[in-house]
Symmetry: C3
Subunit: 346 residues, 3 copies
């Protein structure tokens, strides 16, 4: 009887583990592994602009931070603390402007989880939406003047995980008043927080720079690399001293344009003493469903290019929808597995 | 040996339960809970108009009714018994008009499951599609004249769960001939069924009233609240006596317009002796993927507004895609969890 | 103590199996079962053109071939070995033209898995994208002249599962130069491989022939059945001898047009001594999300029509996204269950 019990137990354990497959079903990579800049940071897409919400509670977020940690992520960045009337924390100032009360204080939760998992949290500024409507950033500066002070008082002094600031305006070369706005807001962030680092994540005005609501995937009138360098030289000169790192989004140009644009970005960052990060988009811009997780080889090629260009750090937009094993998009969990396979993470 | 056996069993059970997480990973709500009108009804989206099919068999539907029951749903509404050539039950009449034979009699199945779970089933009328093509409802009246009689004979006398009728034409203020059509069809439904209740679920011609196939999310020429009240006063006057409840869809206006429009709707319903329900859409109209589950806080705000307005009942479009733990959209299961958390349902 | 151990084990096993539901939750079909042409082949959508990537490794692919096998699939077809710069195998020729190195040799993997599961693998030719941009197929012929030779040398002589060729250009009646191109490429495929079969899978220029990036689902200027027959008679005459089977995509016409068009296709195939297959699309063309799995009854109606028309074989585009139990689209697993139910596969 005991032997039967043990046999049954063994069978149960064997089935539960499910690792009894022959070795020949593991993938056979034909490219050099670990030959790319690993991702060490991710945006947290709250409040989302165009990615449907996953409706996670603290339990799921806690689990996600652990998944992030397991592949080497040490930096989390709130994409924005509010977008139009939806906000992430009970901001007295923004509520008084007509914003809606959130059911959970996400800023507090993220800061706690960042402490728990030994990560740095970057706070993304408020996006009033006016800049998207009018191209003007005046109201962004005004609102964030209050938000920056308020947030530092509420959380900055309380949590050692509060590690920096993210100027959430997703500008490109043609954004009117962006230099002045970024300079003002960056300097205020540093002033209130004793000099914590500030970064931006602009987009390249490339062939895939089309709106999510647009049926088309590409456009004809993309910026040339010369024009890109000339205009960003001017912008970098204007924000130098107020911004510590720049993380260009890597998804608006084609894969064989990566080296050219990355070299320019690195040269400009070096010239103005900034860190050069890449914002490796983990969603696919080439598909009619906007947006689902990217094909691994595309992500790999972008991270390989970042490594070749000598970039300082790779962050991604973003882990929880597009790379997480618990994402509602199951392709994301497989991307996680492919990523671990390539970087030989057990 | 026995002790080892027990130890292994304990470990297995411990792992299987997975409830061994510290208490501090539960969500911390900063808004008053249970402060909103709970959902007690849902549409069943067969035949679907623009939501991809889940391909469930009876096993999945049975399980879904149990999930509904667990959060207090006591009413299920077939969104329509047929749309153009696709139908939900083997209707002799509709088959003779060229409709396709379904592989399962969904009406019979839903009525059986409603009986099993102690729910009321509302039957949604046939939608020939002509009204969408031409704006004219003549052929809807003609087809449904046959359908109403047929369905009551096939199921109405057999199932005590047959609880009412839903006039499935999704009209708005400008729908030509809707008053006449709804009056005719509503009265016939009542006549054949001994006076069972009839309801409609129109949409407000608001800023988000755009077609699913349209790339844009909003439009400029939304109706004013005064115009809305004037036109619906006229419509309600015309259908009074033939319709018992009106459940406006809540997704075509902005969140800070809810109170204003809801107050008008309630006033009109009261004036004409109808029940005032809300059709709380559980999908997100603000995202480029059309459609995935809504962010919980948006649903909460809409149900809070319905409670403030003194509404009689909340139904949703719809549970099985957007709120069910077994939905193909995993965000739905998390919405279910958030909903239970907020309403303190164990 | 032993009895408690056994009791606990029994409970565990009972729960694990989960088959303890009453029999009355199985679906009740009201149509004749097994009354349709079963699917015995599927495309493998690598490199994908407009379906987001699942990021599977060899483990997932191995499992998917088993799922295919279980429902009777004996033929797998690589949709294309490359699309523009993305390719499926380390082609010296295509790499020298600027294509990107893939991280896995998918052709080798698919051939190995086909051998393991006793299937035939068809190789889909390279798609340079120029035909989509210009409507001209000259560069397709030139590139594939090299690819066909290369691939046969690399894999054809090594794997007995290499069973045929697929001319991947998705032509329709108006495709300039298609007859010449298909003839050239088909004959070369046969020449190098000792006469292995070649097939094509064109689309009918019907009412649903709209681009995935287009917001609309249908169009007005669909081809008439007479025009279809006239033009394809000419095309078939031109490719006869170079192509062994034609598998028209079944998703561009309406369900009540199936019999008419299928009869024409079969008549033409017979006339020119080709096999007549159907490419039963398992994704839904009628929904705003492009694309998710099809509703089972739609697939059933198409396979029933193929059976009525006396077709030789049904393949699908495609199993892994739209019918697989492990698809990221959970509707696919339910479609798999409905399919098995209908064909009475245990």
């Amino acid at each position: 009887m005991k032997r039967i019990t043990l046999l049954l137990l063994a069978m149960l354990l064997f089935t539960a583990c499910g690792r009894n497959r022959p070795a020949d079903t593991s993938s056979r990579l034909i490219v050099p592994t670990k030959n790319a800049l690993p991702i060490s940071g991710t945006f947290l897409d709250e409040i989302s602009h165009d990615i449907p919400h996953q409706n996670w509670g603290e339990k799921e977020w806690d689990r996600d931070f652990r998944y992030m940690k397991d592949i080497g992520i040490n930096t989390v960045i709130l994409i924005r603390c509010g977008y139009r009337k939806f906000i992430t924390y009970p901001s007295e100032y923004l509520l008084s402007r007509g914003c809606y009360m959130p059911s959970v204080d996400l800023v507090d939760m993220y800061l706690r989880l960042a402490e728990k998992y030994g990560m740095k949290f970057y706070f993304g500024l408020y996006d009033s939406g006016e800049y998207w409507d009018t191209g003007d950033m005046t109201s962004e500066i005004e609102a964030n003047r209050h938000v920056i002070d308020e947030v530092w008082k509420m959380y900055g002094e309380k949590y050692s995980s509060f590690g920096g600031w993210y100027l959430s305006g997703e500008i490109s070369r043609a954004t009117k008043g962006a230099i002045h706005a970024f300079r003002e807001m960056g300097l205020q962030c540093k002033r209130v927080s004793g000099g914590l680092p500030v970064f931006i994540s602009p987009w390249i005005d490339g062939k895939k720079a089309v709106m999510a609501s647009n049926g088309k995937l590409t456009r004809e009138d993309a910026v040339s690399v010369e024009q890109h360098e000339k205009e960003w030289d001017e912008i970098f000169a204007g924000i130098s001293g107020a911004v510590d790192a720049v993380a260009f989004q890597d998804g608006h140009i084609d894969y064989d344009e990566l080296d050219t644009f990355f070299a320019v970005n690195k040269r400009l960052a070096d010239k103005y003493g900034m860190q050069c990060w890449t914002n490796a988009e983990s969603f696919d811009r080439d598909m009619p469903i906007k947006f689902l997780p990217i094909k691994f080889d595309k992500l790999r090629m972008k991270l390989e290019a970042a490594q070749r260009a000598g970039y300082d750090k790779a962050i991604t937009f973003e882990f929880s929808h597009f790379m997480s094993p618990q994402s509602a998009y199951l392709q994301a969990g497989h991307l996680y597995d492919r990523y671990k396979e390539y970087f030989e993470i057990k």
